[in-house]
Every structure is written in structure tokens, then in C-alpha cells.
Subunit: 269 residues, 2 copies
Amino acid sequence: MGESEFDAATRLVPLSSQAQLSSQAQPAGGFSVDISDQWSGLASVNGGFLLATCAKALHSLLPFPDPIVMSGLYLRPANPGPAQVHAEVIRSGRTTAFGQASLEQGGKEVLRATAAFSDLASVPVEFLGRVPPKLPDPADCHRLQGISGIEIGRRFEYRAPVIPGWLRGSPSGDPTSEFWIRFADGRDADTLTLPFIVDAAPPVVLELGGGSTTIELTVHVRARPAPGWLACRVITRYVSGGYHEEDVEVWDSAGTLVAQSRQLALVRR
Amino acid sequence: MGESEFDAATRLVPLSSQAQLSSQAQPAGGFSVDISDQWSGLASVNGGFLLATCAKALHSLLPFPDPIVMSGLYLRPANPGPAQVHAEVIRSGRTTAFGQASLEQGGKEVLRATAAFSDLASVPVEFLGRVPPKLPDPADCHRLQGISGIEIGRRFEYRAPVIPGWLRGSPSGDPTSEFWIRFADGRDADTLTLPFIVDAAPPVVLELGGGSTTIELTVHVRARPAPGWLACRVITRYVSGGYHEEDVEVWDSAGTLVAQSRQLALVRR
């Protein structure tokens, strides 16, 4: 099997060696990346995809392999085409390292991301206040083909026990969903792709008749995912003043919570 | 009534006028602040207090009055004593402006915060998936005096229908709580103090017998709070690998959701 769609699409090319040499106390690096038209949502390039691109840049600089928390501030819409990522180490501690990355297009900053990395090799579960979503076997679920007909929907395979109301043309009024997800090309998830996967499904605010534009997205990566399908639980609890939050939980095939995310987004009418 | 404890404690003094002139395209500013010993938790200065200090610095630079989302990365413990805040505008848009602030002590960065500001003057509620906590009148609640005997606990007044198990010496095993909170000196909350208030109560992971050290805290400010008591709902759902998340909702006296927060924290044993 060759390089996966995601890995090919987020291949970071270091900028000239000068740019790699930092005048600061901490390491820093610049990279170019060519964003294809395969990762767009309705209006622009998917926010989680951009966050995972920054995760890869930070991963190349930081001494720990796993992002445990990442926050991204979405400053402008991103479009397919060339982009640059500038990443820096903020602090490297004994068990945790912190970094920041900026993604730019045409000299304008699109995304500013901060992150803490650590090592999630062994993650004993100490307290589980909720269980994984109770979903039928993926084989017994509806396969949502090219979900909502947008590019990003073709990069993933979605299986859900029920077809979402908004997809049938009648929003349910209940902004929640539970479903299986995996990369369409079979690539297994890891801690660097989870910041993408939490933003890879259509927003549940669609069940209220609204679209969504991410302002800020924070993801906690809680464990390294086992291979196979991921079960997601999504909920929007409050819409006010034109904003809504969306919470996502991602559980792996072994029943382990591997990521939690929350985003603040503008409701598009 | 004089200046409130909070406002006096977060008085930002601009650094020399040179420092105010930015060589960058966007405005930036440096401030000094003297952190007293009145705002510490068990081990160090409260993280929400530091985040609100950064909110005030950004507020002085940005063209909109209300933080709608703030994320802070806690790099090192902060101690009482002098500190500096360096703030910069990342981007000023038509309805939203973005900024970043760093809080330093002794030349070492303690907190890196990013934020989006907007105007929350009018915030119609469009969808409410949950109702405010159902709490007895504050007068009919237990007054938790100098909660847990730490400094930060004296800056707030807490009223709860039941005394938390951990405070009675027998952790309940249920990491949730609902309670009223307000500044002890009667200062009303506003959108600049909400990033503090979401971190002002003892962590509910205490009900599992553990303490907590914040790694990252994100707060969504959803509306300007009405004067008076605030009702909080707190839950930790998962503890694994030595980390836990904590979600806080803050509702004002008019029954409006005014803030949501989530933090990732280390469990202290």
C-alpha cells in the first residue's frame, strides 16, 4: 500500500535551511505544503485538516510523539493552493513540550495553533463516566455515500444507524449524532490525525437548519487509537447570538476514548 | 465602593512607551502586573486568574469588548510577584478580532493565551439543549466558607445545596457539582472575568481523591452576564493516563448561559 491520501496531502517540505535556523532559544522550522482541492468543506478547506497539518509540523520539532491538546484559532478561510507552516517550540519540559504553529497563505495567516505534546504509549483508564456510543456493527449501518456531496466527505467512510434528518432534507431539530468513521483509503487513525477526525463530519447544527464556520477548535487526544473503525458521539447544546459549540467524542475499536473536542463556530444561515 | 479586589489585582501598567510601539503591522503592547498572594490555589497562582489578566491586556488592544473564546496553555506554575504581559493583535476583522498574549515571570513564559473578541451586546438564544442547574435559592444553600482553606477560595463566595464529599473528608466518587458563585467583595461578573470564574472552584476530580494541575483551559463566553449570583455546573467524565478533562457551564441570574469551559489537567495524587 502506498502513501495514504492524508499523508500525501500533508507532506511538509522544509523551507531553505536558513529558515530552519532559529535565532530564538528554542527550535523553530518553516515548511511549505500544497493544499489540494480534496479537503474542502462547503466553503473552504476543512479546519481539522489544517489543524492536523500544524500537528505534523509541530511533531517534527517536539521531543514527544503525541499531541495531548491542540487549540486552533481560525483567522480566515483557507483555499486550495500553496501554504506555509511556521512552527516553534515554546517550551520543552521533562514530560510535556509546548509549541505553536501558524499556517499562512499568500502572506496572510489563516490558522494559529498551540499545542502540548507528550507520550501516550501507556494510558491506563482510571475513571469512565460514560460508555462508548452503542452502535450496531458497521456492516449493519447505513453507508453515507459522499456525505453531503462535498470533497471532504469523500476522504472518509461514514456508517450510521440512521440517515441524518438533514441529509434526507428534513432536519430533525435534534443536534446530535452517533456514527462510525474511518479514512476512505483504509489508513488507520493515529494521534496526529485525530485533530482532523474530530472535525471531519458535517456539523450537527445542520439538524437545526444551519451551517457552521469554525472560529476555534480545541482537541484533547486521550489515547493512541487501536486500528479500525472509530465511533463518534457529537452534540451541540446551545445556539445563541449566532454562535454554537460542538462537542465530539471519538472512541476506538477497542472501546477506548481516544479524543474529545469542542469548537466554537458561527451559524451560517 | 472602591476598586474591586479583582480589578486592583489585575491593574496593568504599560511598559515604557517604546515597548508600546510595534514594529509589526498590528498593534502590540507590553504591561507589568504585580501578582499578589491572594489568588493562589493549592500549589500556585490560579490559572483562570492568569487567563483573565491576559484578557484584560487583549481588551486594551482589540476593537471589540468581549472575549468570545480564549485558550491558554499553562507552561509553568506562576508564583505571587511581578509579571509581564505581552499582547498582540493577530487580526482585526469586521465583526471579530484575534489576539495573543504571553504572561512571563523572571523572563520565563508562564502562560500563552490566544483569543477571539467580538461584541456580545445582543445575544438572542436560538436553541437551548439543556436548562440551567436547578439550585435552591442561594439563601437556602450551604455557604462553603473559605473553601478548602486556600487563598483563591476567599476571593469568592460559594453556595451549594450539599457540602461536597471531599470537603467532608469522604470523596463521593462522583466528579460533578452544581453551585452558586460570586466575587466575595460583591463585584459583578462581566465577560472579562468569566475566563477566571470558570476556574475559580475546586476541581471536581477531588471527588475521586485526586488534585488537579491545569495544562490547557479553553473558555467560550456566550453572553454578558446579568448582575448577581452565577450558577455553575461542573463535570469530569474521563480520567485516563493521569489526565482528566473538566467541563464548566456558567449561567447568570437571568437563566442565560454565559460561559462554557473545558480544561485538560494532570491528576495530582
